[in-house]
Amino acid sequence: MDGRSFILGMSALAAGICTLSGLGSGLGQGIAAGKAAEAVARQPEARSSILSTMLIGQAVAETCSVYGLVIALILLMANPLV
């Protein structure tokens, strides 16, 4: 097996592993949405401000998984190792 194809195959594997970064942010976003639902159930009049706070928090939590996606894409499209 030549080195180039080994690196390409391992890069594809690494890109797959990179998408696992979605695991943590998905969990976090789900917890945030659940807590927001609880808060709306307790205080229905504060719905709009709870919603926008939840969205900001979820957007920040999403950053990690977006970084994972970007690294996966770099490994697949513009591999620096080959």
């Binding site: 926008s52 969205l55 900001i56 957007a59 920040v60 999403e62 950053t63 977006v66 970084y67 996606l69 970007v70 894409l73 499209m77």
Partner: protein, 228 residues
Amino acid sequence: MDFSNRYHAVLFHLGDTPVYLTDTLIATWIVMGILILLAAAVRVRLHRFQDVPGAFQNLMEIAVETMENFTKTTMGPGNEAFAPYFFGVFAFILFSNYSGLFGLRQPTADLATTGALAIMTFVLIHFRGIRKKKWGYVKEYFSPHPIMFPINFVGEISKPISLAFRLFGNMLGGVIIMSLVYGMLPLALRVILPDILHAYFDIFAGSLQAFIFTILSMTFIAEKSAVE
């Protein structure tokens, strides 16, 4: 399966580097054209606006008033002057994201566009902070203890990077999944089935990301320029 940013022609040479006419550039020009035409239409009709608004005037007034109220509630008093700027940014990102519905490649699925938008926010954050706080701005980097300076500094640098990558990654993910689905389906089925995905990736995620970019920029600027 084609989701790369295609090069169509060489526009001009910058030194030895050729500057290409890309998909992103075409889509950006179309979005800019639509926004400029809309603004011109509003400007021409402005002197004919009446106390009892018609449909078009009503729509425009609702949009502007919503943005002003939103800026006021998010950024606090004293920052109302940011409303027109953020209205422009929001409209540009929203129209860019919706342009995927018309077969264009979204300009926001290119790191150059989102990076430029994030640099604009970055410059605003720090100019506003320095003008509002003077020396308190520098002191903030060394609080609560001078040993925290590297952490504070890296935190400031990472803000525009995370802003740019969030918008870019979300839109590019949509573009990739859409092109995979289009490549998978036979020609006859490409009409109806991807509509649901378009509704999610272009309309729902597009609106959400435009909203999140605007509200995060607002929060960053407001918290950096808040005087205790």
